[in-house]
Amino acid sequence: MLNGLDLAVEAGGIHAIIGPNGAGKTTFFNLVTGALAPDAGRIRFAGTDVSHLPPYRRTALGICRTFQNIRLFGSMTALENVLLGLHSRTRGGLLTPLLGVPFRRPPGESAARARATEVLELVGLAGKAGQSAVELPYGEQRRLEIARALASSPRLLLLDEPSAGMNLQETLELEALVGEVNRRGVTILLIEHKMSLVMKLSQVVTVLNFGQKIAEGPPAEIQCDARVVEAYLGSE
């Protein structure tokens, strides 16, 4: 449940959303990506009202996400998962594969594979392209989810607890990856429980509690905010 939330994300930055469990962080992500429809209020993205667009239209506009509980496609390889992420950036219907030279890849397929391989390289999974996505180690599955979302060339990338379940080494690698993606011009909205990551990566932090915004500002300020300490740390 979110109530009267007014939240603006500046283009080009990394904006973190924190708050205790049940504060409405994932609900907020679901509203932005279209998995849920708002009862009231508006969601605007780069000047377009997306409040009632289906998820695939929002992906086409440049909004993509990862999931808190990893949702990779279990019947597909790592590469195929990333190829699926290219869906909104490629064309071709059911009959398209009938065109083209027999025994060669269908039209557009080679270019798509080259692009997907690039994205896998960016997240350091080029060597795992042919492996079943769900058989990868946990940390790699998280990075593969980021790769799949990146394949859709998002302008806004929503990461829902990307470091959950990661060890220190994996968390450091994730930090570097998120920083690199941001440097390439992707605005990032980050739900994260690991405060070290939030402090190092984000320029703005919004704190949610019981579906409402209780504080917002640079991480250093947020860390000392009495309301935040009470709501966030007090609940742990």
Binding site: Y56, T90, P106
Partner: protein, 284 residues
């Protein structure tokens, strides 16, 4: 040369494979249909009617049957937008029964007495030729953008939508294409049996079509091909047990599903075969 009997077995097996593929296509997008017999009936009656009353050339009659199957499939796809799993199975089952009862009460199509006098246009070459085209289609699609969208929708609809897949479009396309393929199968069937009645396309037909695909395994369209081929030829191989044939048939299916619950060609086997194929292709 093959005997007439052998040719007849092959033609029926080929039509069964086409029907199993018609079930597999929507199933590969997570849409289970227990009404493929209904689409088959539409294709059979449409093509037969055109052949008998309008002397339509066979390819045209077949195409019309597939078209009607596809258009009705599109319509059946709409409830699928809101229903999942068992509920979708029940709705498609209801659709299949509706089509059967519709033809039962349609005097223009012979009603319960059936529709006779269909020209014997289906030959083994028609069946094998169309099957080859379909197999080429499935092989190409399974490694394409839309094929992946189908699999993604089956694996996780929420994630697929979040990654940019228009689930409405994919589901409707899956049902329409499945309906068209079943309609094609119906046309071939009608022009081989030369007589059709509504009972040939009832719930039993729909369930056997489903069984073929599930028995073969839903991990790849080759599962539908293998399942339909084996199960449609099996009764011929079991002739020697006479009265016990159907019991033995059921028993064999049961044992198979116990031993390989994911079907004959399960995901692991498909992965092994396709990586083997990929290596062979890389060598050549």
């Amino acid at each position: 040369m093959l005997s007439d009997h052998a040719v007849s077995i092959l033609i029926f097996a080929g039509i069964d494979v086409i029907m199993a593929l018609s079930f597999f296509l929507p199933a590969s997008a997570g849409q289970l249909s227990a009404g493929q017999g209904g689409f088959m009936a539409l294709g059979a009656y449409t093509s037969a009617y055109l052949s008998v009353h309008h002397q339509a050339p066979f390819p045209l009659a077949l195409a019309a049957g597939a078209l009607v199957g596809g258009l009705v499939g599109l319509g059946v796809g709409f409830p699928a937008l809101r229903l999942h799993g068992l509920y979708l199975v029940l709705v498609t089952f209801g659709f299949g029964e509706m089509v059967r009862v519709l033809f039962l009460n349609a005097p223009a199509f012979g009603g319960p007495a059936g529709f006779a006098g269909i020209p014997p246009s289906t030959t083994i070459w028609y069946v094998l030729g169309l099957l080859a085209v379909l197999l080429y289609f499935f092989a190409r699609v399974s490694r394409s953008r839309m094929g992946r969208a189908f699999s993604a929708l089956r694996d996780d609809e929420t994630a697929a939508e979040a990654m940019g897949v228009n689930s409405t479009y994919v589901k409707l396309a899956a049902f329409a294409t499945g309906g068209a393929i079943a309609g094609l199968g119906g046309g071939l069937y009608a022009h081989y049996t030369l007589f059709i009645d509504p009972e040939a396309f009832g719930v039993g037909r729909s369930l056997f079509v489903m069984l073929y695909a599930v028995f073969g395994g839903l991990a790849s369209f080759w599962g539908a091909v293998a399942g339909a081929t084996i199960l449609s030829i099996l009764p011929e191989l079991l002739r020697w047990v006479k009265d016990w044939r159907e019991i033995l048939y059921g028993l064999l299916v049961l044992i198979m599903m116990l031993v390989r619950p994911q079907g004959l060609l399960d995901a692991a086997l498909v992965a092994r075969l396709s990586s083997h194929g990929a290596r062979a292709a890389a060598r050549s």
